[in-house]
Symmetry: C2
Subunit: 207 residues, 2 copies
Amino acid sequence: VTEPARRRLTRDERRAQLLAIGRRQVERTSFDGLSTDVVADEAGISRGLLFHYFPSRDAYVVALAEDAARELLEVTDPDPDLPPLARLRQGLAAYVDYVVAHRGMYLALIRGASGGKPEMQAVFERTRGALAERVLEGLGEDPAAAAPTLRLVARGYIAFVEEVVVAWLREPDPSPDAPALLATLEAAGASLVAAAGVPPERLTGGS
Amino acid sequence: VTEPARRRLTRDERRAQLLAIGRRQVERTSFDGLSTDVVADEAGISRGLLFHYFPSRDAYVVALAEDAARELLEVTDPDPDLPPLARLRQGLAAYVDYVVAHRGMYLALIRGASGGKPEMQAVFERTRGALAERVLEGLGEDPAAAAPTLRLVARGYIAFVEEVVVAWLREPDPSPDAPALLATLEAAGASLVAAAGVPPERLTGGS
């Protein structure tokens, strides 16, 4: 058999390939454990060419974090036609599935955010802000115009979910199981929104 | 009038003096803005003597963070004879009072925890853990033996309170006002505990 001549990757394909290789590496180790030599090797390119796509190791790490955060936001984006509580449930279920499937990357993101690099903190902050806005939108609120208390509670709820999920992932033998964790996160969201003064019928989709 | 000869400070008094001066400085600026020269000057000692008490600038910064965290835990420790909900209310009220009175130091602590230094993160992590245990104790639970879901929710609640209070403090014109914020934090705590399966009568002090 003759192999077809290897097609040169386009710029976008190469970039996507390098991000995918890096993310697999971070998943197994951490951002600190990431070796650009190993990434270049696996892609079959020189380290110099890698730095053509990402001007520095730091820039590459931030691009990996942005790529993971984008994916997290994408896979957890619920169906906008569902009523609020069902949207919350769908988004949370996708979130828990994602962090279980990408445990290493997720913990690396959280550690990266607390690692002091302002660019990593900014990725984290933007992601948290986007998730909080989604909670408000799910309630039919314009995030920019929502009542201050409700906006604070939406942000706080995202911090709550993160803390619970990280503590859960870090246990050697995570308990409760994923469905029970999900039920707790959902009940917590519903009760926090109620504590912020949103009437219960807004959650179930009545108006 | 003749002034009494200036008494030499004991080792503990000197240490406490240096911590108090440093904390006033951090309150006005941040940990990064802290100058050991200015601290030594204000204490009327040499920079060398300051490093006799704290072996390095980093060690001094960690000692300042520990001192502030200890004080925060101290002033927010509620009366153990109160029923759970009243304990929560008393602890939260003291917490909000503290962060409003020590806004600069509190925000510096939060920034410090995300500044990447493992010792600062450890101070933060211990404080968060102690506050979460207090929530469990307030419910009459042994923190080490509490149900996994309730332990996770207690940790998540502390993260919720921190996020809400930091976002609130950072607004140029904080809204809602402090009493309304407090009411929201309290309602959130009560509803989260209920969402974690604790029967309502445990909160009001029935058994």
